[in-house]
């Protein structure tokens, strides 16, 4: 098929975008799952959509293409562009503008027959006018009713259509901000497109720090999960494992979207009837979401998840040791003028507790499902830790072994110093 800039299916481009943006080191030969031509087409599309953000590097391994974005400098998530690339037919776009125009001008709601006749009148101005039959027009009208841009009312046996009422929207400041920080922010970006430049260039008032734009690629998945949660429905998930293989996770009851603002990942917490557990699924590994039945257990399961929160550091709900919960306690020491260390513990402690032992010493403790989730955070206090104890001996041994490995890496304990 000839190359086009637009796409029908988002899932394939989602993988390529992740590879170009998150990884950014793969050359053409590394994309072995698809044909080289498929790679060339996807790269060309991404280049066309993201223009200035594309970078190239030549190395011995070949040419590497990647997306380079400093999200602190861009005021609008550039990855949202990918959601504005859905393909359509010649008939779709022709009918779209004619239908909306004729319904804008109509004083009263119109039947499919009347709409089809008026459509013909619009097209009669062309040399070879298209002809839309009533069933095509009806299907498009139905689609637009379900999207909410038209409304239909029944009179006798006939449906009459009219434009949905125009509604007020928040100003661009609200949309600028929430399109970047709110789940499914791409919807805000669609609204901003409609607000559009009205002759006077807009000043962007907001910038964003620690801003993970990657989750934009999971917008449709998250949207479907949110729909299901609002309706308290179960869903069937199709996921991909670490090995990249597609598999079915079966039917789950989605309970909450958990977002890491420090790690850039986004998770679904869901009850899996097969295992009888609430567990997490990474949203970037969910390939499809199919709505199922309404579940009468939703409220009870969400309550159960709330009850688990005091033992959840991240999204893990099970220990590696097989115990129900594991504990960690560590003590940090700081100078009298370094009280910000104690404040750091307080503000970053999540489900843990912090105790100031004296003016220069604080102790943190937590009892969690999976104590290994805390390790990266505990390492941020390296240079101050005077004592540490994990209930899980294997985790403690690994923690101490890693510290010794770090000493070696930096020439503090022999080994291959740099």
């Amino acid at each position: 098929m000839a190359y086009t800039e637009l796409i029908k299916n988002f899932s394939r481009i989602r993988d390529y975008m992740r590879d170009f943006y998150i990884y950014g080191f793969k050359s053409r030969d590394d994309f072995t799952q698809k044909s080289p031509r498929s790679y060339d087409d996807e790269r060309r599309r991404i280049e066309s959509w993201f223009g200035d953000y594309m970078r190239f590097r030549q190395s011995a391994a070949g040419k590497t293409v990647f997306l380079s974005v400093d999200s602190r400098l861009c005021r609008h998530n550039p990855l949202y562009q990918a959601w504005k690339t859905k393909s359509f037919t010649d008939g779709d776009i022709t009918l779209h503008f004619i239908l909306l125009d004729l319904l804008t001008l109509a004083d009263t709601p119109l039947s499919v027959h009347e709409i089809t006749e008026r459509t013909d009148a619009y097209l009669s101005a062309f040399t070879n006018p298209r002809l839309f039959d009533e069933s095509t027009v009806r299907n498009k009208l139905r689609e637009y009713v379900s999207e909410g841009i038209l409304t239909a009312e029944k009179r006798g046996k006939t449906l009459y259509y009219k434009r949905a009422a125009d509604t007020a929207c928040y100003d661009t400041d609200v949309l600028d901000f929430f399109s970047e920080v709110s789940p499914c922010g791409v919807i805000g970006s669609f609204l901003l497109d409609l607000a559009g430049p009205k002759g006077i260039p807009r000043r962007d008032c907001f910038a964003f720090k620690h801003h993970y734009i990657t989750n934009a690629m999971d917008s449709e998945i998250v949207c479907r999960l949110l729909f299901a949660m609002q309706e308290k429905r179960s869903v069937a998930l199709e996921i991909t494992g670490r090995d990249g293989n597609r598999r079915t996770a079966g039917c789950v009851i989605p309970l909450r979207i958990m977002i890491s603002v420090q790690g850039g990942r986004q998770y679904l917490m869901a009850y899996t009837p097969g295992s009888g557990r609430i567990r997490s699924f990474r949203t970037d590994r969910i390939l499809s979401v199919t709505p199922g039945e309404v579940s009468d257990r939703f409220d009870a399961l969400r309550e159960k998840l709330d009850g688990m929160r005091p033992h959840m550091w991240g999204v893990s709900t099970q220990s590696r040791s097989g115990r129900r919960t594991e504990s960690v306690t560590f003590t940090v020491r700081y100078a009298a003028d370094e009280q910000y260390i104690h404040h750091r513990l307080e503000r970053e402690r999540r489900c843990g507790t912090v105790e100031q032992i004296d003016g220069c010493t604080s102790r943190f403790s937590a009892e969690v499902y999976d104590v290994s989730e805390l390790i990266p955070w505990i390492r941020t206090f390296l240079c101050r830790i005077t004592e540490i104890h994990f209930s899980n001996a294997a985790v403690e041994a690994q923690f101490k072994q890693d510290i010794r490995a770090m000493y070696r890496l930096y020439g503090l304990e022999g080994g291959d110093a740099i």
């Binding site: 909306l100 949905a164 901000f177 949660m229 990266p376």
Partner: protein, 303 residues
């Protein structure tokens, strides 16, 4: 759903083309300018022939259109649902007193459906009326570029004041705080909104700023990564928001360079430490020293 042609750049570009064609016969160069502005790099190759060859029967050969009203589209249901969701976000009150009412449209999500599980606990208080008032004034001043007089409590708890020209607000989801970037005669830099005691329009004694708007002082760090325990993916996700360059240098070994603002160097040091022995900083040497110094101090504590 979200991936729909209704929101596509092509529909958007054609709507703009028709807006002009409703008003006057459209010239080809006008069409090209519109497509360049509203669509993608290669779009003109598709849009122009599709319209001129009448595959999309919307534009007549003389540049006029059978469409009579400037195109507009009512809000879709999903857009209304998303906007309804904002009503339960406390940050909305920074912008408006009352949320918009979309009747019986259900929200796409509530605050109970979402959890930012690693957000810091000492975020700004968006429900504080004084904070809301300051926020709105600052936003207005940025939009209209007038100077402000700001009284604030500095880190040492001392009250200070300054006259500044506000440039933009920066929000961090991790910190859950807003900072104001501003230029002043004596001060240029950032102000935490949470530290502002009072804020008003500066009407006298305002001296134009010395400095121009400058990008943050840049730094870079290069490290080598050993892809054990899924480190590659964790590291690249974690540092995804920086401008970066990654290359494979061996079997399961990668070299990564990040560019960051110098003011955030300490934060970057501890974020690199959090990955333990999976990451080894290789340049610059003073950054290696920053890591080595912390590890040395830790070693002296006997762990």
């Amino acid at each position: 759903m979200i991936f729909s042609e209704l929101y596509s750049a092509y529909y958007h570009a054609v709507a703009e083309i028709l807006k002009h064609a409703v008003d006057h016969p459209l010239r080809k160069n006008e069409m090209r300018r519109i497509v360049e502005k509203y669509a993608f790099g290669e779009s003109i190759r598709i849009v122009e022939p599709a319209l001129t060859q009448e595959r999309w029967q919307l534009l007549l050969p003389d540049g006029t259109t059978p469409v009579r009203a400037a195109p507009s589209m009512p809000m879709t249901l999903i857009q209304k649902r998303w906007l309804t969701s904002l009503s339960s976000d406390p940050r909305l009150r920074l912008f408006v007193d009352e949320p918009l009412d979309f009747g019986d449209v259900p929200p796409l999500f509530t605050q109970d459906d979402i959890c930012l599980f690693d957000q810091y606990a000492d975020g700004d208080d968006y429900t504080d009326p004084a904070y809301q008032k300051n926020f709105r004034l600052i936003l207005n001043a940025i939009r209209n570029q007038y100077p402000l007089r700001i009284d604030m409590i500095n880190r040492r708890g001392k009250q200070t004041h300054m006259n500044v020209l506000p440039k933009y607000l920066e929000y961090s989801e991790k910190d859950d705080k807003f900072r104001l970037f501003c230029l002043g005669h004596h001060f240029s830099g950032t102000v935490n909104l949470g530290r502002i005691a009072r804020c008003g329009r500066c009407t006298r004694n305002y001296q134009k700023p010395f400095s121009r708007e400058m990008p943050p002082d840049p730094g870079s760090v290069t490290f080598e990564l050993s892809d054990e325990r899924n480190a590659l993916e964790r590291v690249l996700f974690h540092f995804a928001h920086f401008k970066k360059q990654a290359e494979k240098i061996g079997e399961h070994r990668y070299r990564i360079t990040l560019w960051y603002a110098k003011e955030d160097e300490t934060e970057l040091v501890i974020r690199i430490l959090s990955f333990g022995p999976m990451i080894r900083v290789t340049a610059p040497s003073y950054f290696q020293d920053l890591i080595r110094e912390r590890l040395s101090r830790q070693k002296n504590l006997g762990l």
